[in-house]
Symmetry: C2
Subunit: 180 residues, 2 copies
DNA sequence: CCCCTATGTTACCGGTCGGTAACATTTTAG
DNA sequence: CTAAAATGTTACCGACCGGTAACATAGGGG
């Protein structure tokens, strides 16, 4: 879905349906034969991002089976890589949240459910890793992940990514030492 | 500026000039006698927020003069208080960033300069507090602060605020113990 | 070849938006 | 009280947007 690039770069409300059609190498009419409204198009785009992110988590789980610390560390590394490849315009989901204030917007619901699932997953990982206060640690992780995107605009994405990795490693190793 | 509430709640692009005028208890014509365009209005609103935030920093400095740790801790507490008083719709500046993709938009420049100043200030505080790697610690602080806003939507603002305070306290006390 | 389906083209609709002109009204000051 | 400055009212403009109707074209399978 090439339209997603436009949404991300110019903002959801800043790109018209005509431009979306052009980016998809088709035209408005054909577009409306597959999506009944722009909002549904937005929602489908968001669904794609969410699905991709959740697939990432599954891959992570498959790669580090039974190793929650490894999953958390690899997760921070992947995030850092994404940060490095991103300039100026923050997270697609974060921006979408800002651009869709209506709490009943379907896309917003999709995002919110995803965020909840993701956070529960991080809590579960922290619990499995034996962190003394899993809710606390998980909130830390999520806070830093979310923050890295917006913070990167004033610090530089490279550095912020590396620092994210550093602190996750530090927390994990600290915890390993404690539980050993 | 009552228009700011609208910008924050409905999104900058989601609120028309007419609604802004009504919120300011005046009308469109009078509005355009004071602001030459909607963009300038937005910029002025952003300038107000930024000025307010920087005044907060000055107050913090006056209240905890020569005590950088105290400033950082109080800062996290004030942020937590703001988080507690906020529901669903994240940070005004963060949202504005998402809604104004044009890098040359004056409001965007104002925000970016502010973020840079703020971050430098945090680095300075970390240096003064004797953190071994001030850039690293400052990035952590900023990351968590920024992240708390978006993360709060899936965790609850109360909890995220308290955890922010906890971790800042923890870092500061850890550092005090180390330097003592 | 021919029919049927998918895609493309053009023109249009109603609505909203940012912004302005012209004029009426109120407020303020001397 | 009066003149000038500020504010309000209405109506409008052009541009854009989401969405649709009608029709033209292409293409693929029997």
């Amino acid at each position: 879905m090439a339209a997603g690039d436009l949404f991300h770069k110019q903002g959801i409300r800043g790109v018209g349906v005509e431009a979306i059609a052009e980016a998809a190498q088709t035209n408005k009419m054909t577009l409306y034969r597959y999506f009944e409204s722009k909002d549904e198009l937005i929602t489908e785009w968001v669904r794609g991002i969410v699905a991709h992110k959740e697939q990432d988590w599954k891959d992570l789980n498959a790669k580090h089976r039974g190793d929650p610390e490894g999953q958390l560390q690899d997760w921070s590394r992947r995030t850092a890589a994404k940060l490095r490849a991103m300039e100026e315009r923050g997270s697609a989901l974060g921006n979408a949240f800002a651009e869709l204030p209506d709490p009943n917007h379907p896309a917003r619901r999709v995002m919110k459910e995803h965020k909840l699932r993701e956070h529960k997953r991080v809590v579960r990982l922290c619990k499995a890793a034996g962190f003394p206060d899993p809710a606390f640690s998980a909130n830390l992780f999520t806070m830093m992940l979310e923050g890295a995107h917006s913070c990167g605009t004033c610090v530089g994405m490279r550095q912020i990514g590396e620092h994210l990795v550093q602190v996750v490693d530090l927390m994990v190793e600290n915890n390993r030492r404690r539980t050993a």
